[in-house]
Symmetry: C2
Subunit: 183 residues, 2 copies
DNA sequence: AGATGATTATATCGCCGCGATACATCCGAA
DNA sequence: TTCGGATGTATCGCGGCGATATAATCATCT
């Protein structure tokens, strides 16, 4: 997940960890955080795996006389680009889970149209399932359920209903564009 | 988190892991899952910590001639009950984060009224912050932002706005009840 | 000029929880 | 009768979090 997001962001420009985290926060702030406690170890791992590489960052070094490396600026390697494309193209069942879906959607512009569609439809199915579960829970219990739990379920139901409507619009739009491309 | 939920559920009746998981799914299904991969290790840990204890489950054993223990039924210990009350009473800043908030709210009936209020207000503040962040992101970028990201932000903004309204209602209701109790 | 606090920046540690996987029983339906 | 689906417990590796440490830079107030 973090890996996908980092690859996506570095696709635009080389960046250091702190900057990545800020951009991540703006890009995904609606539904995902990512702490430094995951970011820095992930950068290390990706570097070891050869997906990203540390830039010499010459200008930065020239400015600093005390010889201490203040920033680690990373750039995508060729393998990193490959990996990114691969991750975007292979949409699996976990792709439509809460946390992953948003990250994938944030990079839809770089995702093939058919994969976009698969993800949107998969997500819709997933949210519809949850919606039905909530409907059942609300219907089943009737009066005997705890009132706060019911309030929680009611809110959840409304949210899922709204998300399904939202997804329907997105899917319709995608289909319209597909038609435009074809005909 | 899981610990809190388990303590809350076992407060009603002794249960085995599988049953706990099902109840968990119904109770928190709107926003939280909890897999067996977390459940069973957590039960072990809680047992070691003395928060829960394994029941003899006599009826179950009598049924089974092959001598194999099929179910591990757990019950709350006195310490477990203490711990539960403690966890409910001590509402901290992480209590209003996405995942924790729902779990806490699911046990509001057992939570002191003043703590309920603190949690609801804390949550509201938290969601308002996110809402402002999303508004800023949407305003700032104007046209240059990626269209899918914008769609994501739009959806996020609507959700946060709705949740704030929902919380306002809940808070108002709590206040009304507080007045009823006082006057 | 000096203090002070916010921001920038990297890093690690222990813990929580997830997904995959394994294994075994029980039950109903084809 | 076999076979899939529920019931039931368990473990492993890893992704990610929150807390925490450290330190330089920059703006602001006095």
């Amino acid at each position: 997940m973090l890996e996908l997001a980092i690859l996506g962001l570095l696709h635009e420009a080389p960046m250091h960890g702190y900057e990545l985290r800020k951009r991540l926060h703006i890009l995904l702030g609606a539904f995902r955080a990512f702490s430094y406690g995951s970011l820095y170890p992930t950068l290390r791992r990706m570097q070891r795996a050869g997906l990203i590489a540390e830039e010499a960052d010459v200008a930065e070094l020239a400015d600093r006389t005390w010889g201490r490396r203040a920033r680690r600026v990373y750039r995508l390697t060729a393998e990193g680009k490959e990996r990114f494309a691969e991750l975007l193209a292979n949409a699996g069942p976990q792709t439509w889970e809460d946390d992953r879906f948003g990250v994938h959607m944030a990079f839809f512009s770089r995702t093939p149209a058919d994969v976009r569609m698969r993800i949107l439809e998969g997500r819709r199915r997933r949210v519809e399932e949850r919606r039905e579960g909530l409907r059942a829970a609300l219907a089943r219990a009737g009066e005997q359920i705890d009132r706060y739990t019911r309030e929680l379920h009611r809110m959840g139901l409304e949210s899922t209903e709204r998300e399904v409507r939202w997804l329907n619009e997105l899917i319709a739009r995608e289909q319209a564009e597909q038609r435009d491309r074809d005909g």
